[in-house]
Subunit: 336 residues, 2 copies
DNA sequence: TTGAAAGCGATACCAC
DNA sequence: GTGGTATCGCTTTCAA
């Protein structure tokens, strides 16, 4: 690979001048500029970002820390971040945590070693995640929490209104005349808890009674857990809810399966609505869900991060909160 | 951030010795080693990878060039690559091409500027992609084509046996007694063409006639195209295939919808089978499909790439070809 | 077993 | 407008 020196020799100028042409940091006369540009072309010269980064103490790289790209909820966020980064000439490093403490800690160190200019965190707030955030901040690396730890109120955040998600879901069932409405969530998850709060508000605002037996919390947002909780819900053949909100689409699909296996028809016997709209729209029949603008959130997180990097490093943390949107489907049927 | 020099001062040794402790590149006496390690701990020192990379002319970064992480086919591959990279202390840069020539060209340049140590390419072989590969190779950057351009026989490749995918799909329908079998594919796609060839072989080996009218090629592997082609297939109310192979799951789902809209029951009136198993398993009823071991392929690609980077830079290109696996579902029903 | 010093390929300050 | 050169933080000879 040719270096700036090769260019300088070929164009018969100093490397300082080549640098000036490259970065426009100072005026260069037309003829020299042309000579330099010609030399660059002929040599196929490309500046070395490691050298530049070393000197400027920035890498033009940002990172996205997320649980796993294999979870369909996240790729759109990653894509949103990448699109913004691309436009601003930044590269994106990807860090799948798998919710593994050890892995998070190693990435925490790696990001520092790489001189990452900023980090978007999309991961539940475990100890290791908070430690990662603390360490990065301590070293002056800007952070944006994207649908991440809600408790990170000391960094910029891009969130969806999770309470509203739950509200939209239960309200929809209520409006369709359901009176006995269940909720499937995840124990210890802030997201699940907020959605449950909205769920309650939806019931209340329609004057519907809460059946505590129809509220079940599992261990994770998985299809298996949705199925397992579904089985419990339908285990009593004489009593089950006629409408159910699941804390996300994946659980809703497991729930759906449990309903079918219990001999129930959807939506004739029981209405279902998910949250996220990751998979709802591709199901047949299409499942009702509450859409979260994940791509847009990714873009906003990317923009906010770059703003912190290039402009106001300081300044009080910002919170951007987007609203979800109801997606109607064929798994909700009017009652009575 | 403390530098190697700070450590040296604190431990009262030269930076050369610190470096030796860090990298084990030469023997260091026990007492000095302990002093250095203690200094590193106390300062919270982390080596600067840009500086190291500049000197060593490698970045400890690899890249994954793929059409889009939002396409459910790719995340598992990316994850496989990342897992291998993580174990070997490499970072992964992500490059979504969106099949956009301009974007590919910019990434081509970026990867060079970043001093990327190696690249996994998972993208159809457009002009721009071949140009990217050529440019990287010219600069000595190892490449692995992961389910990528089949024509890149000058680089290592990790592929699935696409012909076999088609064969498994049509054979399955044949074994269930279907006689009039259709195929939905994509015009100009090598993947689609190979799967079609296997499809034909499946028919032949079961002595089944090919109905050319039931073979339709669209413009892309999308649900919309699946739907559109499906509509064409079902437009003649007196004649349609009773079994159809779609070149991938996403198209199969569009096709499914078209069938339902045409008033046909699946699988009573028409059997369907997809390829990829990206979405088939989560559909209800579960869709039949042919599974591609994408995660495992990603791992193999990562391993092969790292082998090239750290060991045999030279040596004739390797091709690793994995076999697909049939996933039975409820969209195929026996005939007659 | 250790240290001094020459780079790696850029940027940026200081002269001219 | 342009050139010389110190510098970024590290690795790697070469000497001692």
């Amino acid at each position: 690979m040719p270096t700036i020196k090769d260019v300088a020799v070929k164009a018969q100028v100093s490397i300082a001048t080549v640098s000036a042409v490259l970065n426009g940091t100072r005026p260069v006369s037309e003829p020299t500029r042309l000579r330099v540009e010609e030399a660059i072309r002929q040599l196929g010269y490309q500046p070395n970002r490691m050298a530049r980064g070393l000197k400027q103490r920035k890498s033009q790289m940002i990172a996205h820390v997320l649980p796993s790209v294999m979870n369909p909820f996240f790729p759109a966020m990653l894509k949103g971040i990448e699109d913004i980064a691309y436009e601003a000439d930044y590269s994106v490093l990807i860090c799948n945590t798998e919710m593994d403490e050890k892995r998070i800690r190693r990435y925490s160190q790696l990001l520092l070693e790489m001189q990452t200019d900023g980090v978007v965190i999309t991961a539940p707030g475990s100890d290791a995640i908070h430690e990662l955030a603390r360490s990065l901040r301590e070293h002056g690396v800007p952070i944006v929490a994207l649908h991440g730890p809600r408790s990170m109120d000391y960094v910029d955040r891009v969130l969806v209104n999770d309470e509203e998600c739950g509200y939209l879901a239960s309200s929809t069932l209520a409006k369709h005349g359901h009176q006995e409405i269940g909720f499937l969530g995840v124990d210890g998850s802030t997201t699940s808890r907020l959605r449950y709060q909205g769920f309650i508000r939806g019931l209340q605002s329609h004057g519907i009674e809460l059946y505590r037996d129809y509220v079940l919390l599992g261990q994770g947002f998985s299809q298996e857990e949705g199925y397992r909780l579904g089985q419990m819900l339908f285990s009593n053949p004489s009593s089950w809810p006629n409408g159910i909100v699941a804390a996300n689409d994946v659980m809703a699909i497991g729930l759906w399966e449990a309903a079918l296996n219990a001999g129930l028809e959807v939506p004739e016997d029981v209405s279902l609505i998910g949250i996220d709209n990751t998979l709802a729209s591709i199901m047949r029949p299409q499942m009702a869900s509450v859409e979260i603008p994940t791509y847009e959130m990714g873009r906003l997180a990317g923009e906010q991060l770059l703003a912190r990097i290039t402009k106001n490093q300081e300044g009080t943390p910002v919170t951007i909160r987007l609203d979800p949107r109801l997606i109607t489907g064929h798994t909700v049927q009017s009652r009575g």
